[in-house]
Symmetry: C2
């Protein structure tokens, strides 16, 4: 299907055939909920999003995951979230589209239908959301915090996968099929799955695509498929169910959207999802998880689809990408055409980011700390002036909010100064006086090309306490020789933070499966004797441990249980990337 | 107002003037949620209660607190609870009563109205509930887990007090005024407050009552009060607002119910609420917190009211009181008359409790452990037979449930045996094989008369780890010489388990106020010189520490943070009494 951007295609408004969707992601409700200054930021941005949805009279609101910042949101966060949803989603506005797919396949809760069809609720603004990595399902019941909202009938939670099959697992994506007049939308959701795992699933899929059998299968099958059957696009790890052809609506007339929540920026290829792995029948992708706002749909060469990356509605890392203005996207779809309109969020706290390399600055002297302090003060003042200026230019609700300021200082050849002490004079002037400055040594970093993670990530003390983790891993009697420590870290994290009793078992199972698969492949090739297998298992494990430790800096997302307690007290700081 | 029990007063059914209320309490949803056998018990009982409400076509369901077992219920518990409420409370049944009081005074959430009046929800079975000690409000926002349900519009949460005033504090009870035809109900709710504190409040009140000024104030004021004013019954610590007299409905025509959630059984007088402290204008009291089912309304001599104690719907302590059959109460109110009908709960897991004093048994020998084991086995078999027999007599849903069995063994003169090992042969036959036996030495206990707490409470390992608490208290640098350790324990508990940042501050403030009050009283009497005051503070504190330590065994309800982590893993065992 060819996509057309026609800015005035809908000049004569034809609302009965045009789906109007507001798209946002990564609201991180509850972020910094214990910080005196920033505690309401996430809620204010989310409320603004809802009010835009109301004002623009959209058909529904589509969210890309990480609605909640914490896997177990506090009572306060749950109450505030439910209050906002109840105030905006329940009203007398008529819902003007229909869900025509099997809703029990789309929605996992016991009610099994789209929320506005429930006769006991007056839903006027339906919300559709997947989960992210922060609010992913966990525990024996595989429940997400989103399930609480879904059980309350305030959101439609989709894209929750049951990882069936053996080995890497198998997922099947059943689209929500939406009709409004002559417009047909197939909405695919894929809640966050660990990147490495999803990556492997897509690679199986990718191999099939490249030998060309997939498109044939799809095209050949369309004509013979009956009304109540969906076509699996691949019988392998990732199955995309396609709507069947119907009279007056061939399969190619469905507008296909995918919402996912994964790493897009590659720190290493195993750690992010390659856009080229996604199937070509998709028309439009909503990419959650990445906090930088790149909301204008970008075409992916050769794939025939565009990607929008709305970015978070609240800055949870004080990095360059989060300093860009935050937006949401109004997407109007009519038949196979769409019009994207980006809308700025006005309630977001101002945030300015700057970098400085001390040794490149002329007016300072490594032996004169006063000159360094003065220079850094000058930069902060400049940044604050910048914010003031842009404030005067635009009258917005964020007018009264203290700004966030982050200066990344390359101090090579200099000594660091105490960021807390430096920030004291900005108390009451800046929202984050305690961590305005962050120190880095760029020279060192440039030496290793592979290691591209941002220093600001690495320096955040709440991110990681390797000693604690190792101590706990040692305590759990699981040896590094058997399982890669990185997988164990993740299992430990899930066990502690998500009450996932099965975390260690799953970790073990996954690694056994991987090893078994590898052995089978090699056995075919080399005809290994049975007595060699034990030796081979050892080698194989060793190899995988090495491989993991090479990349371990890039995908660490762990805190120990002790640390987590501390983090919770210390104003719920970021636990994972982003 | 005189109360009349007339069993056939409503023989000719007059539903338009009769309020039908189903009363239950202490459902402890989520209790034992990680136990393979008992995880659904609390939910099944609650669902049965809701289905009785549906079947009996009551006007509303009234709950007496501790709907949740945990202050921070798990996602799973929240989801299950919301599912049940949504299935039973939302329907097309008409609500046939009106709430005529100022609803913003009755319900604390931002919506500020009774749930069935919300135009966006189809509420057919309203639920009214107070909080208990398990699900009491905590944290900066003073939110209870009940607030989550209230924000979802699934329950009407009332009786949440803001403890205003200085010193001991001040509370005002605004009744929910309910009308159905000619029947008028004033429903007072008082969510759990620490017994010691509420006790002191009531004592202030009690003094006023005894000098007779209170009734005069009330009676005198009635005639001059306007339509929009309520009368405070006492200007002191506990204010009871009374409905005003209206044409055709004098104040005495209101039927007055109080729902509270406090200790009733006295381990020491400071630790429980004396029934005689409650005002005489009340007609009927629903007493939550006590788990023993004493559901038949008991008259309190000289007070003019009756008390029902429904008891818990799930046994959370394997003590004698919990072994009695569980019931809920159907209360039909017509004008000033009422009819109580108790209804047995059929889904409750069978539980039999027995006591044995080894030295009184003829067939056993202290030096022959085999004879002891055999004897205990015989008792367990007998108890199980008893359960089997009663099962055959009544066909109930609990038929398929493994029974709970608890044998309290007085082992004076004998040595204990390992309860875990003893229980192994009952795996698959009894729901609690690991703790069928509990050992006690009665002789010792009888020596101290004051110390009346049940040994079974004291022996439960999850209840208390004094060493841990003391270590943590020591760590927190707060000295026992300044604050009673018991108050500190409670502050620590609230800080750890309820995220109450203000816990230590409140504890300090309360103790300072108490000391200041005491000093003021004594200063008046004795005209103490200013230089003596410092000395007096010391004495006063010392005295209070002593006083607290005397009673400390009775009102311990603390676990340390470390212990709590452990408890959560170990199948969410009881943390508090009962």
């Amino acid at each position: 299907m060819e996509l057309v951007f026609i800015q005035d295609m809908m000049k004569v408004e034809d609302t009965s055939n045009t789906l109007r969707v507001l798209i946002a992601t990564d609201c991180h409700l509850g972020y910094m909920e214990k910080d005196e200054i920033r505690r309401f930021d996430s809620f204010q941005a989310f409320e603004e999003i809802c009010s835009i949805a109301e004002q623009k009279q959209v058909d529904f609101l589509l969210l890309g995951g990480d609605l909640f910042h914490e896997n177990k949101p506090s009572r306060s966060t749950l109450v505030k979230t439910i209050e906002i949803l109840r105030r905006y989603c329940l009203n007398d506005n008529p819902v003007q589209f229909q869900v025509v797919s099997d809703q029990t396949m789309n929605f996992q809760n016991i009610f099994g239908h789209v929320n506005y069809e429930d006769p006991h609720f007056n839903v006027g603004l339906p919300v559709f959301t997947i989960h992210g990595n922060h609010d992913d399902p966990a525990g024996v019941d595989n429940l997400s915090a989103i399930d609480i909202l879904s059980t309350c009938n305030l959101v439609n939670y989709f894209g929750k996968m049951v990882l069936g099959g053996s080995g890497v697992g198998q997922i099947t994506l059943y689209p929500i099929l939406i009709r409004k007049g002559t417009t047909s939308l197939a909405l695919y959701g894929l809640g966050n799955i660990r990147d490495e795992r999803l990556n492997r699933m897509f690679q199986v899929h990718h191999k099939l695509v490249s030998i060309g059998c997939l498109d044939n299968l799809l095209e050949d099958s369309v004509s013979i498929i009956g009304l109540n059957h969906l076509i699996p696009q691949t019988p392998h790890a990732v199955q995309w169910m396609r709507p069947q052809a119907q009279e007056g609506c061939p399969v190619s007339d469905w507008f296909n959207i995918l919402v996912l929540h994964q790493n897009r920026i590659k720190t290493n290829p195993k750690n992010a999802i390659n856009e080229h792995f996604l199937p070509r029948f998709l028309d439009f992708i909503v990419w959650g998880h990445e906090h930088e706002c790149l909301i204008d749909p970008q075409e992916v060469a050769g794939m025939g689809f565009h990607i929008t990356q709305p970015g978070s509605s609240v800055a949870t890392s004080l990095i360059d990408g989060e300093a860009k203005p935050k937006h949401v996207l109004l997407l109007e779809i009519k038949g196979s055409q769409y019009r994207p309109t980006k809308i700025p969020l006005k309630s977001v706290r101002p945030f300015e980011y700057a970098e400085v390399v001390l040794k490149d600055e002329a007016d300072i002297d490594p032996n004169d700390q006063a000159s360094v302090l003065e220079h850094l003060d000058k930069i902060v003042r400049e940044v604050r002036n910048l914010i003031e200026k842009s404030r005067k230019a635009s009258v917005s609700r964020s007018e009264l909010k203290l700004p966030l300021v982050r200066i990344k200082v390359d101090y090579s050849g200099f000594s660091t100064i105490n960021p807390q002490r430096f920030g004291q004079k900005y108390v009451g002037k800046v929202a984050n006086p305690q961590d305005i400055l962050i120190f880095t040594k760029a020279a060192k970093k440039r030496q290793s090309i592979e290691d591209k993670i941002d220093d600001s990530e690495r320096l955040r003390p709440e991110e990681l306490n390797q000693q604690n983790i190792e101590a706990l891993v040692a305590e759990s009697n699981l040896k590094m020789e058997i399982l890669p420590v990185n997988d164990l870290d993740i299992a430990l994290h899930d066990f502690v933070n998500k009450d996932d009793k099965m975390a260690f078992y799953s970790c073990l199972q996954y690694n056994l499966d991987e090893t078994r698969n590898k052995l089978n492949t090699e056995a075919d090739k080399l005809k290994i004797e049975e007595e060699d297998i034990i030796l081979k298992v050892g080698e194989c494990m060793e190899e995988r441990v090495k491989e993991r430790s090479l990349h371990s800096k890039g995908n660490m997302r762990i805190t120990s249980s002790l640390q987590n307690l501390q983090v919770t007290r210390n104003y719920g700081a970021v636990r994972k990337r982003p």
